[in-house]
């Protein structure tokens, strides 16, 4: 990974690193990637099925009943800024 890819990742993830953090992260990432590349041939997984869940997972269904567990006031209790029941954000459309 180079600094250009890192810059793109920062943008994608809405994050910024300091110059020192960038250097530390790049060393960490490149070492992790080299290690994974070196391990790539250790086990041939071409015919191995992916395992997303370690245990059999079934689709959970429930009765289609309308519920209102929380009020708007409750939901906005931890909000950084609200106004008359709306969440406030900066202007999005110029």
């Amino acid at each position: 990974m180079d600094r250009e890819i890192l810059r793109r990742l920062e943008l994608l993830n809405q994050l910024r690193l300091t110059e020192e953090e960038k250097q530390t992260f790049l060393e960490f990432f490149n070492s992790k990637k080299s290690n994974l590349e070196a391990l790539d041939n250790a086990v041939n997984t071409q015919n191995v099925e992916r395992m997303v869940h370690v245990m059999p997972v079934m689709t959970v269904v429930r009765e289609d009943v309308v519920k209102q567990p929380f009020s708007r006031d409750d939901l906005q209790r931890s909000a950084p800024e609200t106004d008359e029941g709306y969440w406030c954000v900066p202007r999005v459309v110029e």
Binding site: N13, F28, R50, V54, V89, P90
Partner: protein, 396 residues
């Protein structure tokens, strides 16, 4: 720093704490992050409801590292607990001091097991899906498990039986008929020690492993060292899955509906970026970026897809071992104390999860006792806790 937030009213005699990854209605839950500082949940975690129904009293919440992905809690927004130059874990300290009987924790990246090993406590990370994760803060959904830490194996068994069971509210909760398999205990007669997992441990950890092996042999249990090169690969692939899932799970923290919002910003993008940059610590930021890159078009097949396939290879490797042995013995950490040098290394948790990743990536149960870790077949937690009770008794 604070070890825990005390809840003032509890009438129960059997007291416990929950770590700060478990949602509580009347105590803030901040997951060790500035992002959730002061956040109060609207609902209680299922495990806490079950414990309250059975008469156990929640005494308070213990602090964790940011989203519990670090060594022992050192990345908490509240600061690290350092005693005599040694890093300590809040949950383990509260139990060791005798303030509560047990703790309910979320084992995300092994910090619970490292803490139990370093403080001479017992912990059980049960089989994935046996304890509801409803009301826990999600970080690595496919591997994290609600766990129990206590002074004794009997207390772990008691607390685990109170919280285990199917929960409709958790899509990964196993059917009750599967969970009931944990009630069947099987005597442990054969233990395998994986030589590849002994890499990097210091003299004191080796000594503990030898002591435990001696106790096992004294009790007529066969202990055999076996060569295995696959299990030791767990950590490399766990890092891929952990970072990818963590990246997705924390993407919702943007400073809009709840959580921290930066004071200064020009426009919505800056609101997101400044809030996340100011609130998240460097280890979490690194994990997000690592996860994001492993999921990118350039790396998805080579890295992420490979890790998912390797998870199956590792699960199958354990199954082969369990065809001949009852449990696997391995260290839980490389050393029994992390000092200043360890704390300076941002990525030390990525090194130490070499010992905890095998149980995390496979969802297999793991018991820590006497400073060492046993990993067993699915649903063998009670059998392993009975073995832990023997080690506890003999180790005194």
């Amino acid at each position: 720093m604070k070890k825990y937030t005390v809840k003032t009213q509890t009438q129960s005699t059997a007291k416990f704490v929950a770590d700060d990854m478990i949602l509580t209605k009347d105590i803030p839950t901040c997951a060790g992050s500035k992002m959730l500082d002061g956040y109060v949940s609207l609902f209680e975690a299922e495990v806490l409801t079950r414990l309250a129904d059975k008469g156990y009293g929640l005494a308070g919440k213990t602090d964790v590292g940011e989203f519990s992905i670090d060594l022992l809690g050192e990345t908490s927004y509240n600061g690290a607990i350092i005693e005599d130059g040694v890093l300590k874990n809040a949950t383990a300290s509260v139990i060791k001091d005798g303030e509560v009987d047990f703790a309910i924790t979320l084992d995300v990246n092994g910090s619970v097991r490292r803490a139990a090993a370093q403080d001479g406590l017992v912990s059980i990370k049960p089989t994935y899906g046996t304890v509801s994760r409803f009301g826990t803060i999600p970080v690595v959904c496919s591997g994290e498990t609600v766990s129990v830490m206590a002074k004794t194996a009997d207390l772990c068994k008691e607390a685990l039986s109170a919280i285990a069971g199917h929960d409709d509210k958790d899509g990964t909760s196993l059917p009750q008929s599967e969970i009931d398999k944990t009630k069947t205990e099987k005597e442990i007669r054969k233990v395998a020690v994986l030589s590849s997992m002994l890499k990097g441990v210091d003299g004191k950890v080796s000594e503990k492993l030898n002591n435990v092996c001696e106790i096992l042999r004294k009790n007529g249990i066969e202990v055999t060292e076996i060569d295995d090169s696959v299990i030791a690969l767990s950590s490399a692939y766990w890092a891929v899955l952990m970072s990818a899932e963590c990246c997705n799970n924390v993407s919702k923290y943007d400073g809009v509906k709840y959580g921290y919002r930066a004071q200064n910003f020009m426009g919505i993008d800056e609101l997101y970026t400044n809030s996340r940059t100011e609130a998240f610590g460097f280890l979490l930021k690194s994990t997000i970026l690592l996860g994001s890159e492993t999921l990118s078009t350039a790396n998805y097949v080579k890295i992420y897809d490979k890790a998912l396939r390797m998870r199956r290879v590792i699960v199958e490797e354990f199954a082969k071992i369990f065809a001949s042995y009852d449990v696997v013995l391995m260290p839980a950490c490389s050393a029994f104390a992390y000092g200043e040098e360890d704390m300076k290394n941002t990525y030390k948790a990525y090194e130490e999860n070499f010992y905890t990743a095998p149980a995390s990536i496979t969802g297999l149960p793991a018991v820590v006792v006497g400073g060492v870790q046993f990993v067993g077949n699915a649903f063998s937690e009670n059998s392993m806790l009975s073995l832990a009770a023997i080690i506890e008794k003999e180790g005194k």
